[in-house]
Amino acid sequence: MSRAAVTGPPGFGPDVEGEIVLSRDTFSIRYDMDRETGVISRRGHALEGQSLAGKIVYFPAVQGGVAAGWAFLALVGRGVAPAGVIFGKTNPVMIQGLVLAGIPAMHRVSPDPFTVFRTGDRVRMSPARGIVERVG
């Protein structure tokens, strides 16, 4: 049996391994996150109260404006940045911000990560090969 995985076009950044956190809701740094702590703060968000620090995070889509361009670097500076970010659909500012911060990024993954992983699974994200696999 092949290893549980999702794939997409080649992404950005080096390989990274960590715990995956899956969100059913979309992501906006300005609207959804406490940028001091890296914790999802928007009331009613699927990940409300969840820290993204050190995690590999999946969001189906994104929202909001250009604040994301600087915000990921700020999260790195405060030691609370995610280890990697995977999107269904994303937008330029998310990727511009992740590139600036040096955080691995992928998009347009299939199948739906919810059908392959559970939050807490250990995964390896390999942007250059366009694959996220469960490990261990």
């Binding site: 250009v66 405060r78 511009q96 590139v99």
Partner: protein, 418 residues
């Protein structure tokens, strides 16, 4: 990506270390989105203030300055989190103000035109059809793509800085013809009487679209929108829907007809927006108390025509003692409004006109706490959307009702929905 000879020399470091870093980031972003080449840009508009940048962003800019970076194309700055002249007056954090001053000095060293405006397209730089840009602030991007027929993606602060240094941007997304084809069709059957209505329309379309890569098409509009109608519509559509472009049939230059908007393709879906839909949108912003604590016109900064309307609606009356009236605009409009007597009229009424900032980035939660504001009454759908995320209580209403709330200190009966 295929690089020109100049771009290859930049990548090799021949134009300095800062330019090399800048183009490497642009290549990474371009390749992520499948860009095959760069396009030269004639104007860059950047968002960079301490509220979004944090210390790490400040250090990044400082590093570029230390490496001797200089912008090679005109770079204008977006609204920032501080009005230096009135910071104490509106109780902004002095530490934030001090760091913002140092940041501004560094941006000037890079060669930025520090205009601090999110309505550059109304006051500083009017792009023409087909012109490639690297603009940040979503409201400016959606205006440039939709109203001008210019071409830009959302360029966040660091991406805009990179484009300012290299003079080019990766050609993906809205730089390409295919990305600009119309998407879902929205048949507009509601009466649009106020800027707030246009913002609400943008919010409705945005909530149903929710995708950067989709270009909604507005059809069936009665009459022609004014510039501030389009401004509120676009800003809200970008805020609620992350959209970077719309077509408005008979209004925007790439949609003189519906067929042109769709380039011969069939609309994927049609939605009807009627008065009930508009009403339902307002109802997502119910009042939490009879009193209006703060009435704020901002997001985007006000044009001269919007300031004139505020003065007309105030009609010489004073703002209620328990209510604050705050307005943000840019320096150019403020100076004109001073000449025309609008600023004096607003200040005589007890209101304040801030310049160079936009309220939702002025640490609004802190400011609201410092003043004890429990709600914010506004005619800006964009601002209502954003500050809702900051756990403030936004109340979106038409401009005349906002002014009545400011003058009487209470939401007028016709503004009460609960």
């Amino acid at each position: 990506m295929e690089l020109s000879e100049r771009e290859q020399r930049i990548r090799a470091g021949e134009m300095g270390e800062a330019a090399r870093i800048a183009i490497e980031q642009q290549i990474a972003v371009g390749e992520f989105f499948g860009a095959e080449r760069f396009v030269p840009v004639s104007s860059v508009h950047m968002m960079g203030d301490m509220e979004v940048m944090g210390d790490a962003g400040f250090a990044f800019i400082q590093d570029l300055v230390d490496k001797g970076a200089r912008f090679t194309v005109p770079v204008t700055t977006n609204a920032r989190c501080v009005d230096f002249e009135r910071a104490a007056d509106v109780r902004q954090d002095p530490a934030l103000v001090a760091r913002e001053r140092r940041l501004v000095e560094n941006l000037r060293r890079l060669g930025a035109l520090q205009v601090d405006t999110c309505i550059n397209y109304q006051t500083v730089y009017q792009p023409h059809f087909g012109e490639h840009l690297a603009w940040g602030d979503t409201g400016t991007v959606i205006w440039a793509n939709s109203v001008c027929g210019a071409r830009t993606n959302y360029e966040a602060g660091p991406a805009a800085v990179a484009a300012g240094i290299t003079g080019v941007t990766p050609a993906y997304g809205f730089h390409l013809d295919d990305q600009r084809v119309g998407g879902p069709r929205f048949e507009v059957r509601c009466a649009l009487r106020d800027w707030a209505d246009w913002g609400a329309l943008g919010g409705i379309v945005g909530r149903r679209t929710l995708d950067y890569w989709t270009v909604p098409v507005l059809a069936g509009l009665d009459g022609r929108p004014g510039p501030d109608d389009l401004k509120h519509f676009g800003a809200a559509l970008a805020s609620y829907g992350s959209c970077a472009m719309f077509h408005m049939v008979g209004v925007t230059p790439e949609a003189r007809t519906e067929a042109e908007a769709y380039r011969g393709r069939t609309p994927p879906a049609t939605h009807v927006i009627d008065d009930a839909a508009l009403d339902a949108f307002y109802r997502t912003y119910p009042e939490n108390q009879p009193e209006a604590d703060a009435v704020i016109f901002s997001g985007p900064q006000l044009s001269l025509l919007e300031l004139r309307r505020v003065v007309e609606l105030l009609a010489g009356r004073r703002v209620h003692g328990n209510t604050a009236l705050l307005i943000t605009t840019n320096f150019a409009v403020r100076d004109m409004a001073v000449r025309l007597g609008y600023v004096k009229a607003i200040e005589d009424a007890g209101g304040r006109v801030l310049a160079g900032s936009c309220w939702y980035i002025m640490e609004p939660a802190k400011m609201a706490r410092a003043h004890g504001w429990r709600n914010i009454v506004t005619n800006s759908a964009k601002m209502a959307n954003i500050i809702g995320g900051y756990r403030l209580h936004p109340i979106l209403r038409r401009t005349d009702l906002c002014i009545e709330a400011a003058v009487t200190g209470r939401l007028p009966d016709e503004a009460r929905l609960a």
